[in-house]
């Protein structure tokens, strides 16, 4: 089943040329690549800010940048990474590209809306970029009032507008995915035959649709207060600054599940392919995704344990926070069990999957620490929390994203990436990541507060270790950028199914034709049925 050389066959990349064919495309695959370019740019922007932060923190008295600049750096790092990289990342790239193909459809339900979603992200990104370049914003990505409404002298409004607009990008993508999964599955593609990646993106879309409007209206109120001086959160008028925190976290907690659920979906795919077995406990993983989406809306108050919120509210939120941990742990056990008696390949995507499970486990377990009221009082607003969420978002989501990119690269581009370099980068990333963030758990428990660029001498050694790790991590991230681009010209040609994977996406050519399938598929097998695929496996270098 080796396809003809790519340049002889028409597919979605060469079917039309010219900038208009990209900027006005309705093809979900091209839109996915547009997103890929955009979020990669923001990743580098956010990464540059992180680099400056880590360099500044090498010494206890800083000196590289002023206090104001440092405050802007960590703010913009958070804004760029969360709103313009992580939230879109997997859904808008891999989800956009593969969700329709995985269910056997020709495109999403609303292709033009999909393109609009991309434009909204770009426009929102431009507003935020303007804010960053014009002088920066220094409120923290959390925009707590009254600092952000009354006291900050930075480009709060432009940044807020940028996030507001980008939020609609997220909402529309979620809406598109939900309608697509409900209404456009191919004949025979029942819910329980769906790849788990689809379940994961479906659950993510539920959160996007229900949660994002709340932060939109919160930002709107922030905007009104800052521009028109209406005092919704102003204590001088009787307003409650903590109310802002409730509204903000009502979205921002579910948002972290927007960031991690698609990653879990990728991992389900990778673990299955590279063990050559169906995922252990398919239904449990599918339902866990939905459970995480639902429960994720009930726990926001765990960000407010020391905010002045009542003790009883704290009890409720701590209790519920432990509930949301359970479905995630069910997934980890099921993925691990999938390996049992499998046929384990060490291809690069699998290495990323192993990395994800390990690092997500650590990150998730430290979540149990911060969910404990008694401990959180001590560690909240310290580097302990910073380490916790970076373990999940970077050690988790970004590793899954890279694993997915490697896995799907042949399908999307028709080329193989260089396996040896890829394995090396995965290792560099894993080591660099742990060296960067593990010391931060120690720093946090010692009492190092967040958002400080000047700190007591005794914290320096741990900071130096962390910065050393960050430089290794940076190298690790640069390597794929380089070899992925290299592979577009010099990479080995990819067959339709280089990994011996199941799923409709592997039955069509690499790269796929414009309408995804030459013949509309009918599904007659269960998900992850490798007996249908094995005779056709090609050895990969």
């Amino acid at each position: 089943m080796i396809t003809a050389a790519v340049h002889e066959r028409e597919h979605y990349l060469n079917a039309s040329y010219g900038i208009k064919s990209w900027l006005l495309t309705k093809d979900h695959k091209r839109i996915a690549l547009l997103y890929l370019a955009t979020i990669t740019l923001f990743f580098f922007l956010g990464g540059s800010f992180a680099t400056l932060i880590r360099i500044e923190l090498l010494t206890p008295t800083g000196g590289l940048v002023s206090s104001e600049t440092y405050n802007k750096l960590f703010t913009m790092h958070g804004v760029a990474m969360i709103f313009f990289f992580l939230i879109p990342s997997i859904p808008a790239t891999l989800g956009n590209f593969f969700l329709p193909i995985m269910i056997g459809a020709r495109d999403l339900a609303f292709p033009k809306l999909n393109l609009l979603s991309w434009y909204l992200l770009v426009i929102g990104g431009l507003f935020s970029l303007f804010a960053m370049l014009a002088g920066g914003v220094d409120t923290g990505w959390t925009f707590y009032t009254p600092y952000s409404t009354t006291y900050s002298n930075s480009y709060v409004i432009a940044t807020a507008l940028g996030i507001f607009i980008a939020g609609f990008s997220s909402i529309l993508t979620g809406l598109n995915f939900i309608v697509t999964v409900h209404r456009m599955r191919a004949p025979g593609m029942t819910w329980f035959r769906l790849p788990l990646f689809v379940w994961a993106n479906y659950a993510t879309s539920l959160i996007q649709v229900l949660g994002t409007p709340v932060i939109a209206v919160t930002i709107l109120l922030l905007f009104c207060e800052r521009v028109f001086h209406i005092g919704i959160f102003d204590p001088a008028l009787g307003g409650d600054p903590v109310l802002f925190q409730h509204l903000f976290w009502f979205y921002s907690h579910p948002a972290v599940y927007i960031m991690v659920l698609p990653a879990m979906g990728v991992i389900s795919e990778l673990i299955s392919v590279y063990s050559r077995k169906p995922v252990f406990g398919y239904k449990f993983i599918a339902f866990s995704s939905v459970a995480i989406a639902v429960l994720g809306f009930l726990v926001w108050g765990h960000h407010l344990f020391v905010s002045g919120q009542s003790l009883y509210a704290g009890l409720v939120f701590s209790f519920l926070s432990y509930f949301v941990a359970i479905p995630s742990s069910i997934k980890v056990f099921n993925w691990t069990a999938t390996l049992y008696k499998g046929s384990i390949s060490y291809a690069t995507p699998m290495l990323y999957a192993f990395g994800f499970i390990g690092l997500f486990t650590i990150g998730g377990l430290t979540g149990l620490f911060v969910a404990a009221l008694g401990i959180d009082v001590h560690v909240t607003d310290t580097y302990f929390v910073v380490a916790h969420f970076h373990y999940i978002m970077v050690g988790g989501t970004i590793m899954a994203y890279l694993g997915g990119m490697h896995y799907y690269w042949p399908k999307m581009t028709g080329r193989m990436y260089p396996e040896a370099w890829a394995k090396l980068s995965a290792l560099v990333i894993f080591l660099g990541f742990n060296l960067t963030f593990f010391p931060q758990f120690l720093l946090g428990y010692l009492g190092m507060p967040r958002r400080y660029h000047v700190y007591p001498d005794e914290f320096q050694v741990l900071h130096v270790l962390s910065t050393a790790g960050a430089s290794v991590l940076a190298v690790g991230y640069l390597m794929p950028m380089i070899y992925f681009v290299w592979s577009l010209r010099f990479g080995q040609m990819a067959p339709a199914n280089p990994w011996g994977a199941t799923g409709l996406e592997w039955k069509t050519a690499s790269p796929p034709p414009v309408h995804n399938f030459d013949e509309a598929p009918i599904v007659t097998h269960e998900a992850y049925d490798y007996s249908t695929v094995i005779p056709e496996v090609i050895e990969v270098g």
Binding site: Y147, L311, R450
Partner: protein
Amino acid sequence: MGSLPLFPEQASTIAPEVDHLLYFLLAVATFFTLLIFGAIFYFAVRYRRRSENELPPVVHGGMTLEILWTVIPFGLTMVMFTWGAAVFFDESRPPDDAMQIYAVGKQWMWKLEHLEGQREINELHIPLGRAVRLTMTSEDVIHSFFVPAFRTKQDVVPGRYTTTWFKPTKPGRYHLFCAEYCGTKHSGMIGWVYVMEPQDYQTWLSGGATEGSLAENGQKLFTQLACDNCHKADNQGRCPTLVNVFGSTVQLTGGGTVKADEAYIRESILSPQAKIVKGYEPVMPTFQGLVTEEQVLQLVEYVRSLGPKPAAGQAPGSQALGNQAPGNQAPASKAPAGKKSAPGAAPAKQ
């Protein structure tokens, strides 16, 4: 480069409690980390792909296994919750004999006020072995009072009082950090807590500022602002007497009641029309903009000093609950402390 500490000092009664919970969590986390890492490593090696075309047998999911690894983690998390909640209760409830100190946070310094009148900037001297109840507010943005060695942290919010407490167990000096980002010099809003032997503390106290105690200054303000024209001790004025009010339950027009704690006194000064005492007319003017947060604290202490006198060894009105000024009804998570919030305080700019 200096030393490499891995653990903060334990300098309060709560610190060991918090650390014990930490050890339990660390044990559970380490166990599961090793379990998962180990299983992955073992399976990945034992079942590595040996030939390209091999097709492993399908292993069917087991309900027993799923239930097991749902129920056991759930049980463990419930233990964590309960234990964490228990520690939290201890962290939130100062003992009745705690001594009262006030803290005002503002960009970018901490102002600590002892009842006896000592005022400290970015430093807090306290005696060993005595519980301290800290009632705090902010003059501008949200800050957070964090002493790692005590394992305590509490946000300091403009427009209302929040409280925290600690009982130091070891003399020494300990970092004080602001733990809620508050602007340019957030990293610089730091200081020290000095825990002194009781005798040394007494010496320090008596050598301190001689501007009079908080209550004395409050009394001066009370006269200066003409509060005593109305609030007469003999209850003959148009307003209720303030003698023996602090800590009591006040009847309000409309039938409700309220506990006369710090937050109520503050609200009465800054937003007097919010609650009217039964049998009186709403004639009290507001002093918002006319008094600073520190002056409000002085007035609060003055009213506290008017009684009722506490039993021996007990600080008056000191049953704190949670993160509010004590004795509040309905500490709301969304509203500023329910009906008893401290609304509308525009602190006069210093």
